[in-house]
Amino acid sequence: MNSKNFIATVFNSFKVSAVAAVFAVVISFIAAYSIHYTGIPRIIKKLLIVCFTLPMFIPTITYGFAIIYSFGKMGLITRILGTQLFDIYGFNGLLLGYVIFTVPVTFLLIHNTMNYIDKRTIIVSKNLYDNSLSTFWISVFRPLLGTLCCAFLQSFFLCFTDFGIPASVGGNYNVLAIELYNCMMGGVPDFNGGAMISIFMLMPSVLSVLLLSYVDKFNIRYDKISKITPCKNNVRDSFFSIFGVASPLCVLGIFAVIFVLPFTLNFPYQSSFTLEHFIAAFTDNSLQNIFLHSLAISVLTAFFGTLFAYIGALVTRRSNIQKPYKRFIDFLALATNTIPGMVLGVAFLFMFSGTSLQNTFVLIIICNIVHYFSTPYLMMRSALEKLNSKWETVACLMGDNWLRSIIRIVTPNARESLIETFSYYFVNSMVTISALIFITGAKTMTLTTKIKQLQYVNNYNHVFVLSIMIFATNLLAIFIFKKLKSTKKRSLK
């Protein structure tokens, strides 16, 4: 590739990732705001939470096809409307795919931080006769600034490094991830060239660490977080209710095809109902084992991943370790997000081939923890920094040491975020493919590596059947985590 084309590709990657990240953050912010700061009906709030996290429950392999089968020339939505809404190949398709792909992450980060913002500042600001804009700035936007930046960066890097969506709907719009794939996994594999491109892709993460440490100063800690019922405002609530119904409908509309397609013979040309694909997929004898593998890997990844994310966040936010060390942990956490899964998989293959870890569950779990470390760490970090910083000092005066105060005071108060982190790791381990395909072995296959095999032999009906299976598992898991959260909340009261 000549240097002029390369620069154009780099520019494309930056542009589409940044635009997608802005969209994802704005949409997520409105959604989280309507949950925390408006009086819209509870059912709409629940709908928002479910639908904004829903895309995360499905392997990304299906995203591109969901767009093609929804908005393509013969797509479900195109056929219902009678006309194709927009050309799905190129910038538009990428933008749509990236926004759906990253909204769960940005939403979770913002929603999670909003839990830890004291809503009473609104009353104080109102009593001081601030205008609405100042109130919004002081009590909502400013305390969230750090998280909004985090969310933007997370979304940006997820788009920047994703290969699946541009491979499906990228069209003429060349991006770096495709260049990387063609170089590393193309007809003539060139790992050195691939390494060069991936190092280049790491560069923006250095800038992001600097940006994050700058916005740190906007973070505010609260002594006590009190929840208040937002005052009545019919105009505001109507507006957010419309958003709260319309946006989940869009998400459901796009993904509906995944749930329709496997029940048809061969969509779009043979749309008659059949259970044939489900029966064929479930009569595969190995499926039960593969499913159990995925489940075990996800639980263990979630457990150890949460532990590491929590320890990392404790070190950077609740300890007095010198700043350079904290910065280093921040950098590591952000860097993991900028390594494309494929590069991580190949790196693990280089490192562990021939060792006793090769093709083992342990290696897969480590790989998953590293691959997804960034968002859980940032979630834990923003939760911990919102908690009162004097707790440890007070505990120290009362005779407790630092560790005891962490265990007895900080941990119970961070429970909700710990469970959120656990579920984030669990769900992502269930859906991840790009790195695992290189390190799973014949005895350690997972549902997603099976999906990749099926995709390779063009058996998309089964791909969607297994995707629904993963979706159902994640939904059930999330339901259990939610129950756990609410029982713990009650017992704390």
């Binding site: 093609i68 089968y69 393509g72 020339k73 013969m74 190949y89 190129g90 491979a167 069209g171 003429n172 794939y181 063609n182 590393m184 996994m185 193309g186 007809g187 003539v188 594999p189 790992f191 061969n266 779009p268 040309y269 043979q270 150890f304 532990l307 590491f308 320890i311 990392g312 070190v315 609740r318 300890s319 007095n320 370790i321 010198q322 190949v346 293959l349 280089f350 081939s353 021939g354 006793s356 870890l357 093709n359 083992t360 569950f361 342990v362 779990i365 040491n401 630092w402 560790l403 395909i437 290189f438 072995g441 014949a442 005895k443 990749k452 095999q453 390779y456 032999v457 063009n458 998309y460």
Partner: protein, 339 residues
Amino acid sequence: MKTKQILPMLGLSLAIAFTAGCENKSNENKTALPENKTENSREVVIYSNADDEAIAAMTHALDNNGFKGKYNFMTFGTSVLGGKLLIEGSNIEADMITMSTFYVNSAQEKNKMFKKLSFNVNTLEKVPEYTAPITSQEGAIIVNTDVLKKNKLQMPISLKDLAKPMYKGFLSVTDVKASSTAWLLMQALVSAYGDFEAETILRGIYKNSQGHLESSGSKPLKLCEAGEVAIGFGLRHQAVRAKAKGLPIEFVDPIEGNFSLTESVAVIDKGANSNPLAMQMAKCIIENGRKELLENYPNVLYTGETSNSANKSKYPRTFERPLTFELYMAHQKISENAK
């Protein structure tokens, strides 16, 4: 203050040590398992990039000849398996592979990782002593007849036709830089028209397939199946399968020829750890699997073979020069110039 600094560090290192300890232990348990079994009963792991029909044929051959339950097939995309072979060499988990022949050859060149086959391989064309071909995969033009009719397009008969301006926006091909499926297209063009004219035709083809120059070899067929494009270029047997399902898919054998790439079986040389069953299974697949394989991949490869398959292509051709990595790179260069 000091404790406040030391404790988190201690906690961190303890946690790492603890988890690392657990991991090693669980790993020991896992790796200990196969050791307990006797060498002969150890399952043969077969990595393969073959399609469903080929896997089925090989499975039947193995099962009907006493190997049932003694092997484990794991399939990969060509690029992933190619990467694994180059990086892992003989450390690879598999005891045996089936893979595109020129990848097998380059892996052998780089890693010296395959055993010399212990059985006779009577191929029509000479092959290296560590491989035996299992299938020959041909390229063809794939057409969605429904889209073609709706847009009043002519049915193409040659690859040169695909460069005609009327197909602009209706065509999808694979980039030869990303996938070897596109090499079948390149071979046909270069063989029929020479390097220079091939580049000109390819320029027209790329112009027509703007937005649909794909990385994956099966994507053009997929786009035809989804009604997104009218014409694609891909593997012939996959199009045959799609048509058999009753989809509005037709395949056209281009007059420039149905060029082909072979996939071969090879046995990994793991020294003393080699599983002796692997070589027996490789032999079994070649001796007993070829008949069924010929149904879907009708090109004859061994002396004495005949094929009556209805799936035979009209213009089976092979490239005049050996299909080496150097040739592949040369063809990639023509393609890059045409972009």
